[in-house]
Amino acid sequence: MLDKNGIAKRIAKEVQDGFYVNLGIGIPTLVANYVRNDIEVEFQSENGILGMGPFPKEEDVDADLINAGKQTITALPGASFFDSALSFGMIRGQHVDLTILGAMEVAQNGNIANWKIPGKMVKGMGGAMDLVGSAKNIIVAMMHTNKAGQSKLLKSCSLPLTGVECVTKIVTNLAVLDIDKGQFRLLERAPGVSVEDIQKATEGDLIVEGDIPEMKI
């Protein structure tokens, strides 16, 4: 089974040379730590930077330089700043190659819910609806089950939707899956996790074909 850093490590392997990548808050933010350093990648933060670098040293902290999680960051050589309309222009216009975000639920048709629990948590969708509404390549990073042990990979979402039929791949602490004709398809198992473990933790329909390899991370 993977921890959050393990999920981020596995997703980092999906990041290819020349990609512009938008990272969501939480596990997705960790992905930047594990991308191979022999490829060229630029991270976009929707509040208006391309070419986001690591956290600053104490003496370089700048209140005018933050990421979408409101954390202080740095700008790498070649970075650029822009306004919010242009930022979402590059997202909506499909100029960003890969979007990695968290979710509370994913359905087997690719629906995603991650912004609201009615009566309990109402923080807002931020940029998530714009991202999932337009991005071609959306990877969800999340735990396979919630804190109560219930599956987050469902036949259909129970929470208010963020987007419809948009998720392409899911990486959890147990498995890598994609969406295939309205079903989840198991691609890889996390180290030490059996196909049965994954089946038990997946409420939605799960296609298992042939030998399922263990992830290499």
């Binding site: 956290f55 902290v61 700048d62 933050i66 909506r92 009566g119 969708m125 939707l161």
Partner: protein, 231 residues
Amino acid sequence: MINKTVNNVTEALEGVHDGMTFMLGGFGLSGIPENSIQELVKRNIKDVTCISNNAGVDDFGLGLLLKKQQIKKMISSYVGENAEFERQMLSGELEVDLIPQGTLAERCRAAQNGIPAFYTPAGYGTEVAEGKEVREFDGKPHIMETAFKADFAFIKAWKGDEAGNLIFKGTARNFNPVMCGAAKITVVEVEELVKPGELDPNFVHIPGVFVQRIFQGEKYEKRIEQRTTRA
């Protein structure tokens, strides 16, 4: 040169009154119009609608207006950092319209650019789309969103000149440029107000035509929400 300067925040907010709709720049606490917000608090302007990506934190930014219950309605994309906001929303004291961040930005830009409405895929199939016109383009459904209408836009820029030309800094730029000229009156506060000719026209982000009033802010706290550093 058409001079847009006013002497201070008091003059800058002339004509502001209860029940108006305001746009406020900023993302989190970065790039918020600190001086204009303080003045709104001081004058106790009430029953206002605020269009702003976030709602500040409990004791800073728009949180200061929330605490005094000056806000009737918030139009935002993300409000997770403010406990008082959540309390007022769940108790029904505060009306809240949560909309996708890109749609929020584009509805400002549309108002700025004289575009009454546009179509976007963001929010299709979700509760955001309820009651909105849906139209397919290239086989993909989009929903129609309309330009905002606002009385005042409160903007924070880094540098500006007396003609109202503006330059922003870092990610403090965010919603500020797209709100300039998107309301009936645009009020800009800057950290540094300079004479015409001191800004290189090649590097002006927003031309003064979008600005009605400009002043140098008295002080900037520039509070940081998540100070994250490395060794």
